[in-house]
């Protein structure tokens, strides 16, 4: 009774009317409800469509990665158009149906993706008003809109609906960039905690993810990765699968190897059973030498900030201190291993995947498949949260290659060890800071150096930036980016030099992980500010306020100090009992030095015998300009805090000389329910008069230093290497 695929009708029945993520296989001949605009739409029609029933569809190149942007973007549309938010559905990331809005990255969806959508909606509103004015024979100024119905002020009986005005037809106009959007003081939907549109489906088992897509005739594929990085195929023993059930096919392209079978468990078994002779030449460094090697490797250096005579100021300082901070390779560690479904025929390639940038990946896959981009169609479908460039793009390439080989739709999901072992990692980094103080505890010089590889190897049209492409021998092409993020801080010091040392290579394949280099650089900067404050005998909050000039920065620092009831401290004081030391730490950052502000207080307990750190409470003050969905922002802040606590306390990718050895959740543990804080307290500072800036990453930045500074406050010990494992804490307590 195998069920082959599922019909559109079944899907609609199970998920309700509100379709927010899925593009539809052309083979099913279906369009989501309300979607009248389609391929080739231009101008306003490329962004918005009003269906025959009056429902509004937003077409956006930005995609839902689990942060709630589909809801927040719907709010922006609902606000400008005066329709109920539940009447707005969103088609995301489809190379033939949505605008190309670049990659969904860097907390930029509301910040950069929002404004053109707001403008399109504002223009649609003005257009609808003028259509209604003609229909009702009044001036547009005499009209009001409520819930998709336009009526004459003072005479509610004279009315016309959006459906009657344009339902099912196109606007046929360019977006008028001068159409006035609403003033924030008029907002009724933006700024309100609107419930996420996707949660009811997700908590009841509706098809919500690319993993849930089942096409007629679909086969299942699995990949077989090399046993060590860089290993090449010597020989594949096809006879090892001679008895395997499921009409197994073996697919090889260079060192890319995969299997396809009728059933998922058959593909898994075949991938496990396939015997391959590999040529191996282990080439990773000794893990214990990693940080030394990073600092010894050749680099391209770039000054990010240079002011005053740092050398002279350091020489003349009454006290100088130096500290180095180290951050390991970490992984995205998505709960659902990467998955994609591809249907590649001689004519066309259609790939459903969770890429953060379907347009860039389309061009990348076109090159990989050696066909024009016009014959490659990528459709975004949600996956488990990715937090950056995980395996989502890679698995799309895997599925495309396997489908091309068998000529039928193929669903590929990575196994857990594929994901842990081969997703691009967040890079290991070394940061060193040196500071000089005058006799009054004031900073006279600041010198900061960071050693980092690039933090982005996204596809961006390069076939070799996919793992399959690399295994086929194609080169990675990537610029140097991300490692310098937040290397500069927000304080004003009389002399300063900040330098990034770009490493040309990384031992492990790397790409963007939430915040790129910002959490690491903020860990170093904000730990070192704390070290300077302590060396100068100044309270850490007072110290920061002395050197901050930006009023919004000062306000978040003051706000969190106030609502956390911060008690000034000039040095660690012994608190706690029975071998458990208690302390609180402070940290602050402005994301990318120009976006959202986050200041944080962490309350920790350190068990002196075991070295265990328990973060009990975290307080956050957060300013991301105009807030679209306050509950969505809170959800993101809470997530950033917990995820970054996990990265800070527990996470480190381990490897031997040939391969990643953190291949499951035991060898790469995450923070668990018994370990997360008792409470995360959040103060949102809403600024309706300032543009929205992203909230998906800023609160991650201060977390590591807030914890490290709290441990210092509790014990007098400095933790400068992440993660803060039991052994490292115990070692720090003994020195």
């Amino acid at each position: 009774m195998a069920i082959s695929g599922f019909s559109r009708r079944e899907f609609l029945k199970s998920s309700g009317a509100l379709i927010i993520t899925f593009g539809w296989p052309a083979s099913l001949g279906a369009q989501p409800p309300g979607a009248t605009a389609a391929a080739g739409a231009r101008g306003l029609d490329a962004w918005l469509a009003v269906g025959a029933d009056g429902a509004v569809t937003l077409f956006t190149g930005k995609v839902e990665l689990g942060t709630g942007v589909a809801t927040a973007l719907s709010q922006i549309v609902a606000e400008e158009l005066d329709v109920r938010v539940e009447r707005v559905s969103v088609i995301q990331g489809d190379t033939e149906r949505t605008p190309d809005q670049g990659y969904t990255v860097g907390s930029k969806t509301i910040q950069q993706g929002g404004p053109p959508i707001r403008q399109a909606a504002a223009d649609a509103r003005r257009t609808l008003l003028s259509l209604a004015a003609a229909r009702l024979s009044v001036a547009p100024e005499q009209l009001a809109i409520d819930a998709g119905t336009v009526s004459v002020n003072g005479d509610g009986s004279r009315r016309v609906t959006f459906a009657e005005l344009i339902g099912g037809r196109r606007f046929e106009r360019a977006v008028d960039k001068t159409a006035a959007a609403k003033r924030p003081s008029e907002y009724r939907v933006v700024g309100k905690p609107v419930a996420r549109v996707d949660i009811p489906g997700k908590v009841t088992g509706a098809a919500s993810y690319v993993h849930d897509l089942r096409l007629p005739g679909m086969l299942h594929g699995r990949v077989v990765r090399p046993p060590t990085i860089g290993a090449t195929v010597e020989r594949i023993d096809e006879s090892s699968l001679a008895d395997a059930p499921g009409n197994v096919r073996i697919v090889r392209e260079g060192n890319f190897v995969g299997v396809v079978a009728e059933r998922e468990e058959q593909a898994i078994r075949a991938a496990q059973s396939l015997k391959i002779a590999w040529n191996e030449s282990p080439r990773l460094p000794d893990m214990t030498e990693l940080y030394r090697e990073l600092r010894a490797a050749p680099t391209t250096d770039k000054a990010l900030s240079s002011r005053g005579d740092v050398a002279a100021a350091l020489a003349g300082a009454s006290k100088t201190i130096t500290a180095a901070y180290e951050w390991p390779f970490q992984m995205h560690a998505s709960m659902g291993p990467s998955c994609a479904v591809a249907h590649v025929t001689d004519e066309r390639a259609t790939v459903w995947c969770a890429s953060q940038g379907v347009f860039g990946l389309r061009d990348s896959l076109a090159r990989l498949l050696k066909r024009p981009a016009e014959r490659v169609h990528l459709i975004f479908a949600e996956a488990a949260g990715c937090y950056g460039h995980n395996g989502a793009d890679d698995v799309a390439a895997d599925a495309a290659l396997l489908s091309r080989a068998v000529g039928r739709p193929v669903r590929v999901q990575w196994m857990r060890h594929d994901e842990h072992g081969w997703e691009p990692k967040g890079p290991a980094m070394v940061m060193q800071a040196r500071g000089g103080l005058d006799s009054g505890g004031g900073v006279v010089a600041w010198e900061y150096d960071v050693w980092t590889p690039t933090h982005s190897t996204r596809p961006r049209a390069e076939a070799g930036n996919t793992l399959a492409g690399q295994l086929m021998g194609l080169p990675i092409k990537a610029g140097l980016t991300g490692g310098d993020r937040n290397a500069r801080h927000g304080y004003e010091f009389p002399a300063e030099r900040v330098t990034v040392h770009w490493l040309a290579e990384s031992p492990l394949r790397v790409s963007a992980l939430r915040g790129l280099g910002a959490p690491q650089n903020t860990f170093a900067n904000e730990s070192f500010v704390d070290e300077l404050a302590a060396a100068g005998g100044v309270d850490p909050v007072e110290f920061r306020l002395r050197h901050l000039r930006d009023p919004r920065a000062i306000e978040v620092v003051r706000a969190v100090a106030k609502f956390a009831a911060w008690q000034p401290r000039k040095a660690p004081e012994a608190r706690g009992q029975n071998g458990v030391a208690r302390g609180r730490g402070f940290a602050y950052a402005q994301y990318e030095n120009e976006n959202a502000y986050a200041a944080m207080v962490a309350d920790v307990e350190v068990d002196r015998r075991t070295g265990a750190i328990r973060v009990r409470r975290v307080f956050v003050a957060h300013d991301c300009g105009l807030i679209v969905n306050p509950d969505g922002v809170r959800n993101q802040i809470e997530g950033n805090v917990v995820q970054t606590l996990s990265r800070t306390l527990k996470e480190e990718v381990r490897f031997d000389r040939g391969r990643v050895t953190s291949l499951d959740w035991q060898s790469y543990p995450l923070l668990r329910f018994s370990e997360v804080p008792e409470a995360i307290e959040i103060a949102l500072i809403d600024r309706p008069d300032r543009p929205s800036v992203g909230a998906g990453e800023p609160a991650a930045c201060p977390v590591p230093a807030a914890v490290a500074n709290a441990v210092f406050d509790a014990t007098g010990a400095r933790l400068r290497r992440v993660p803060f494992t039991l052994e490292r804490v115990k070692a720090a307590l003994q020195t």
Binding site: I199, T204, D212, G385
Partner: protein
Amino acid sequence: MADPHEITVNGQRHRVAAAADTPLLYVLRNELGLNGPKFGCGLAQCGACTVHLGDRAVRSCVTPISSVRQPVTTLEGLGTRERPHPLQQAFIDEQAAQCGYCVNGMIMSAAALLKQKSKPSETEIRSALDGNLCRCGTHMRILRAIQRVAKA
């Protein structure tokens, strides 16, 4: 190879053909078209695949189909969009999801706990969910959602 197995899922009898060692998860997803239980690790380490066997929460990714004797309940069997289980409603009310991939396991583990003990303490909830991983860091909301039902 593909032996017939009779299983009861969400109150319905099904006869499915699968090799005896096939994990229940693949039968639920691929034979019965259910989406609630998710593949997360295949190692019983993350909880994304959790279903109930009888009243017990089990990891369907390591449960061979041939060993299934008791009735299976999945997220879909707990409640629907129109008639959600109190936990499903509480997860909506608390907006207790980011990506939502782990939510199946959170709700199924919590539902099993509440069957055993209708008013668990926060410590007991944390303990019962300690084997369920969430990468988005939605823990605080998940705890609030479960407490909402536990206190009701």
